[in-house]
Every structure is written in C-alpha cells, then in structure tokens.
Amino acid sequence: MKDDVMKTPIPVSLPPLATGLIAVAACAIFGWLFLLAESEVAVLGLVLLAVLAGWGAQKTGLSATLGTAMHQHSGAMNGAIVASLLAVIALLGTEHFPLLMLSTMLLYLVAALGLNVQFGLTGMVNFAGAAFFGIGAYTSAVLTTHTAVPPLLILLAGGLIAALIGALLIVPVVRTAGHYSAVVTIAFGVLFKTFLEVNEVLGGPQGLMVGSMNVFGWDFNNGPVLMGHEMSFYVNYALLSSGLAILAFALTRRLERSWLGLALDSVRLDETASACFGINVVRAKVLAFTYGNILAGIAGALYGMMISFIAPNSFTFSDSLLMVSIVLLGGLGSLWGSALAAVIVVLVPEKLQILQEYRFLLFSVLVIAMLLFRPQGLLPRGVRSYFPGGRAQR
C-alpha cells in the first residue's frame, strides 16, 4: 500500500501548512519593509535580520517544515505567495523607486529561470544572458518607436528575436560542450555589446528611447487608481512583471517535472549514456537553449519599456555574469533558489547604495566562496517529484 506514489495522500497535518502560511506572510511584511527602508542602517539591519532568520530556520528545523509545507500543500502555499506578492505591490502603491526595483528583480528572475534551464538542468553554460536580455530590450525599442505593433505582442517578438539570434549560435553550442560552448557564448556576449556600441542605427553608446507598455488601450504611463488614490505608474509594470515571473516559474517547474526535464538532466550528467538510452541529445539542447533565450528576450523587452531608455552598458559581460551568479548562488536547477538569489543579487545592492559600486566584486567573491564551500547553492534542488506531493519519501 505504501508504494503508490501518486494516489496515497500523505497524511495531512495542519502544522506544516500553518507554519508555511505564517512564514509567507512574514516574508511579505519583511519584503515590504525592506523595499521601503530609507536609511542604510535600516537596510543593513534588515539584511542582518534576514541572515539570522535564515540561519535560525536551518538550525531549528523550520526550513525542513517549510519544505514539507511546500511539498504537501503546494496549491495553498503557491497561492499564498502570489497573494503576498500582490499585497506588497498594493502596499507600495505610490512608491516609484521600490516598485521599479521589485519589477527589475522579477524580470531578472525570469531571465535567470531561463538560464537555469540551460545551465542548471541541461549543463549548457550561457555567458550571454545579458545579451539575450538586451536583444529583447532593443527589439522593444525599435518596435515601439518605428512600428505600431501592439506592445503586448512586442514582448513575444522580443522572445522570438532572442531565440532567432540564439539559433545562429545553436550549431556551435550544440556541437560542443563545456569550455568550448563557454567560449562561444562569451564571444557572442562581447560581440553583441561591441556591435551595439559601434552601430549608429541602434544609437551607439548612447542607446535608444523605448516606448511604454500598453495593454488593450491602457497606457502604462498612467498610474492606476485604487479606491480613489492614484498609484505609481510602476504598479502597472510590477503587476505585469509579476504575471510574467509567475508564468515563467510555473512553466519552468512543469518542464523540470516532466520527461523532458528528466532528459535534460540526463544530458547534463552523461551525454554518451543518454544517447545510448535513446535520448535525443541535440533536441534536448536546442530545446533548453531556445527556451532560456526566449525567457531572457521577453523579460528584456518588458525591462526596456519599463526603464524607457536603454544603452549597451546595461548588457555587458559583467551583467551576464551576474545572471549566472543568480543561478549558481540559488543552486543549480533550483527554481526557488533562483528566486532567492535574484532578491539578493538585484535588490540588496539597489537598497544599499554604498554596495552598488561594489556589487560585481561582492557577488564574484560570494560565488567563489559558494563554489568552494557550498556548491549545491543556498536552496539546493531536491530529488525530482513529478507531481506536487507525489513522492514517497522514506
């Protein structure tokens, strides 16, 4: 009786769920306070608090309980997480800058999820993440200024163009592995930025203006009105970015928990053996590479519209490395890990302006330490369970 993984419901007990919901609420309040915190001291205090809380959760077994909650009550937990994200956006309401930061973080997360499929699942390093993000942004700059394509479609176009340009790299990336494909993507990343800098049509080093988002006639330059109060226009972008991040997260989760995800894992761990068991290695790599580039392109397209002005300097090799750092810090293949790491890598330096200047240094040192002492990342990926709750753990 105990062997039927799918059907036997694991006995439901309230404590994990209750603990989980309380933890989500606590995180939401924390996030809200953190985004609003003004003084460096307050931010530093909150960062310290978070580190302590994380450490405490490990020590007291709270994190294990949370894992159980996520696993057994994934519906309720995911719902709570989405609800608290929306609540935080509503609470921030009129605050331009915190909303912009939150949206930026979410869009970086979308790109990092794509990279995680490429790198974490399939083992294909892509050191041109920022370039594909930039392709999306430049696509939206060109299309919003020169055409009347509806902006929602421009998002898709950003993903599509990123995938198409990525397709130019497919032959060398798929035919090679490890350091060989690394050099291809690094070369592409550097080439892309150099190209933007010298290309006059795309604005050269000065960059381009990008038009704003517009959904069914609702221009994102207008602040939405909630109960008589006009909110920041960034609320629009925060909501759309949240939607995008949730969609990307759910899709990536499904990909990971499917036969395709298994094939990607197998290709990462042993290409030769994979082929000997009938796995189409080329297909797996093309799928992962394209999937990741589409996500980066879409995220970049919305990012461009949101910040309304883009330049080659936002899409450098160092930015690509920052995206790879998100994946590495969070843990290879770990989606929640990427989410946590996106918060750390994007939000913390934005809030701590003293760190802003030092962020590349800071995160490169952090990743070095991580690779040496905790290569599995902050939130290591667990064993695959194909369905929520569908894993007999003994």
């Binding site: 390093v125 060398p172 350091h179 060989y180 010298v198 490169s364």
Partner: protein, 306 residues
C-alpha cells in the same frame, strides 16, 4: 592600397599575434596539465601590467632615470608577482575543485577575474581611468617610403617571439618540461614515476601567468596605456585563440594567436564600414570556426573513454 600601408598592417598584425600567442600559450599550458580553463588569465595579465606600472612609478620615485634599468625592474617585479599569483590561484581555487564538475573551475576563475578587475577599478588609485604607460623603449624609426618601422615595435616583437621560443624549449627540452608533459599525459603515471604533481601544477601555472605578465607589459608599451578592463578582452582573445588552435597544443595556441590577429587586421582593412567592427568580425569568425570545427583546428585528444 600602397605597399607601405600594407606593411604597416602586417607589422601591426605580427605585434598583435605575438601578444595573443603569449596569452593563448598560458591557456594551453593550464589545460595541458590539469584539463582546466583558468579564465582569470586575462585579468592576471592586467594585474601584471598594473604591477609593472606601479613598479615604474616606484623606480622613478627613488630617482632612477635610466629607462633600461626601469624596464628590467618592471619586467622582473611584474613577472614575479604574477607568477606567484598564478600559483596561488592554482593552489587555492583550482586544485580544490579538481574533482568537482569541470565547469566549476571555469566559473570560479571567471568570477576571480571579475574580482581582480573590480578590485583594481575600485581600489587602485584612480583605478577606473586608463593610466599612461611610460615609453621605456627607444622610439627611433626607420622610414621606408610611407612605411615606418619603429625600433620599439621591433624590440617588442623580437622579445615576444623569443619568449615564445623559450617557453617552447622549456617545455620540450628540459627536465622540468618533461615533468610537465608527463603530468599532462597521465597524472597517475606521473605520480607513480615520482613526480611531485602539485609542485608541477603550481610551477606550470606560475610559468603561464608569467608569460601573461610579459604580454601585459608588451601591451602597455605598445599602446602606451593600461586600464583595468584590458584583461577581459585579451583573455577572451587568448582563450579563443587557444581553442581555435586546439586546446592543449602549444603550436595550436601560437597558430590561433596569429590567426586571430590576422582576422582583426583583415577585418580592419577589408570591411567597408569602419574598422570599428573589427572585433565583431573577429569574434564572429571565431563562432563560425567553432561551428565548423568544434574542438579546434588541431583536434584535442579525445578524453571521453567509455
């Protein structure tokens, strides 16, 4: 196009090729002994150039004016520092990760490169701006029509080629080189033969990094400038050159270095739209080459035994 201009491009290409080959040889040496890519190589080169620059300032400060003395001091200090840095990286970042997935070493050294680059930018006095590297070599030139051959260029290229030949002799003709090749061939057997494995790895990293420092100084003398970002591009070019040549093969690295320089020069001369695209062109060709010959022109020995 007149002969003089052509000669100028040729001289320029040879200069670049020598520099790139020096960097590529380092990548190939590291890959040979350990099967790893140490991507911080370019930034180690930059550290070498900055160490050299700092040494020069120190020399001037203690009142030594003779450029030859300064040059020797610059070279000695910078090569020694960089060699030590290379050995430290091997000891504390590369060797501990030897049994981890091979990409981790690429990643950790990439991050180290970033840290070095950012470290110089943030902590070297006025590090974010380029520094004027002193002209320590005689600048007299020989005019042949429109082609002028400068003495410093000749010295630089000759010295660079001498270093490459010296490295080659070191690897192929000395006991140390024999030990390095033994480790590269087969680590286990080399250990059984009584070779001090760790020592050889550290020495190899020191040698490769020293060569990079030399290339860094060459670069500084040639362009009369050093800046914190110089290593990123040079590292990438050296890495590409080593890969095009076929990793682990010293001749391949030299070939790759000159090939890349040739591509850049051709890109600058032949492309109708501005030489600004020369790097775009060169990297584009690298990507195309990788699509055509994924493991380089001189194929790497296959290591995946089933």
């Amino acid at each position: 196009m007149d002969i003089g201009l052509l000669g100028q491009y040729l001289a320029n290409g040879v200069m670049l090729g020598t520099m790139y080959a020096l960097v590529a040889v380092g990548f190939t040496l590291f890959f040979g002994v350990l099967d790893v890519i140490k991507f911080s190589h370019g930034d180690v080169l930059m550290i070498g150039a900055f160490t050299g620059f700092t040494t020069y300032l120190g020399i001037v400060a203690i009142g030594i004016e003779n450029p030859w003395v300064a040059l020797v001091a610059v070279l000695v200090v910078s090569i020694a520092t960089t060699a030590a840095l290379g050995a430290l990286i091997a000891r504390y970042l590369v060797l501990p990760l030897k049994s981890a997935p091979p990409l981790n070493i690429l990643l950790i050294t990439l991050m180290l490169g970033t840290a070095l680059r950012e470290g110089v930018r943030l902590f070297y006095p006025d590090g974010s701006n380029p520094k004027a590297f002193p002209a320590l070599l005689p600048t007299a030139s020989l005019e042949l029509g429109s082609f002028s051959l400068r003495a410093d260029s000749v010295i630089l290229v000759s010295a660079g080629i001498a270093v490459i030949i010296g490295l080659n002799l070191l690897i192929n003709r000395t006991r140390l080189g024999l030990a390095i090749r033994a480790v590269a061939q087969d680590e286990e057997t080399a250990k059984i033969m009584g070779i001090n494995y760790t020592m050889i790895v550290l020495v190899t990293f020191a040698i490769g990094s020293g060569a990079a420092a030399f290339a860094g100084i060459m670069n500084g003398l040639y362009y009369n400038e050093v800046n914190f970002g110089m290593g990123l591009l040079l590292g990438l070019i050296g890495f590409s050159a080593a890969i095009i040549g076929g990793l682990g093969n010293i001749y391949g690295a030299i070939l790759g270095g000159f090939l890349f320089a040739g591509l850049q020069t051709v890109g600058a001369v032949a492309l109708p739209f501005a030489s600004a695209y020369k790097d775009v062109f060169a990297f584009g060709v690298v990507i195309a080459l990788m699509a055509w010959k994924p493991t380089g022109l001189i194929a790497e020995r296959s290591s995946d035994r089933v």
